[in-house]
Subunit: 195 residues, 2 copies
């Protein structure tokens, strides 16, 4: 039986290491590389190396940056810090365009099952930033780990005299009540707001 | 609004150029690269370059090879040639393990809508191989382009005194008649075989 050549097999493994890439998908990518021009492959390698060499995490908030401080930490002034789990979450919130405060990236959430406790997250750097801070908004995902992280942060930050809030939980805009899950609906009723 | 850094944006574009990769997926791959060790990124680039430099198409059959002739063309002797559209199809048939003949890869199918005619496929090299050939099995996909290609090949190869056959079309093994589409079922009845 004929198999892939060794070099294709190696590249397939590399694509699979990107995470969430199955064998068939990795094969498709590798076949595409065979058909690429040498210049395209060079450009691909250059892009990989550029990201590795230039992109780091902001020393203050922990999101992606190409220098010591990210764009937001260098330019914005605010006494509100929005805490998120991963750098991509900063981009999601920025896309909305309605938040003008600062960020803090934890690089994970508290997850005892995965052996990740508070000391594995960027919580100490957050506490060090609270001197001039009026409010911390916890914008972790509304799942078990995200909720646990929010409760933990509230417990250690509130005693420092800083307000801690959580992004609202309820029905999504444009959704249909018929298809909203029970837990979301009960949260939406519980957190109802007067008009 | 904060955006991706330039180098991340560039890498996202590269991943998207692999085909069938959306923006979100490409972003996920790029974030993964940020977290890779330098050695992993080097290994990834090396794998890309190795494939580009080592993998070529077999001069005889047109499938993937790391030298002038692929493994199958160098080792197997047979008077049967199985014609497929793409190199990956060779691997699919080899995986089955029941075919011991040679292959010929067309690198496409006849598709007037995409402006691809017989002269854009590796048909001349196929005709040049037919001197010692007893049978050509056309194993292109059972769709419009695959059928058109099979009919075209039959029309030009049969006059040369070589038998031309087509892979059987019918119900898949393990399928349920209730869910088989009409066209497949009518093909299965039309091509019924005596027991």
């Amino acid at each position: 039986m004929m198999k892939h050549t060794d070099s294709i097999e190696m590249l397939i493994a590399k694509f699979q290491s990107l995470g969430g890439v199955g064998k068939k998908t990795a094969m498709r990518y590798a076949y595409k590389v065979v058909d690429m021009a040498q210049s395209e492959v060079d450009a691909f390698c250059h892009a990989l190396q550029e990201v590795k060499q230039k992109v780091r995490y902001c020393e203050i908030c922990g999101t992606f940056a190409e220098s010591q401080k990210c764009e937001i930490c260098s330019k914005r002034e605010s006494d509100i810090i929005c805490v998120v789990a991963y750098p991509k979450d900063v981009l999601s919130i920025e896309k909305g365009g309605c938040y003008q405060g600062l960020y803090h990236v934890l690089h994970g959430t508290i997850s005892p099952l995965d052996g990740r406790g508070p000391n594995d997250l960027r919580i100490k750097p957050l506490l060090a930033r609270l001197a001039d801070c009026r409010e911390v908004i916890v914008a972790t995902n509304p799942d078990v780990e995200g909720e646990a992280t929010a409760l933990y942060l509230a417990r250690i930050i509130k005693p420092l005299g800083v307000q801690v809030s959580r992004i609202a939980q309820g029905v999504s805009m444009g959704s249909d009540l018929e298809y909203v899950d029970d837990l979301t609906l009960s949260k939406a009723l519980e957190n109802r707001q007067s008009l």
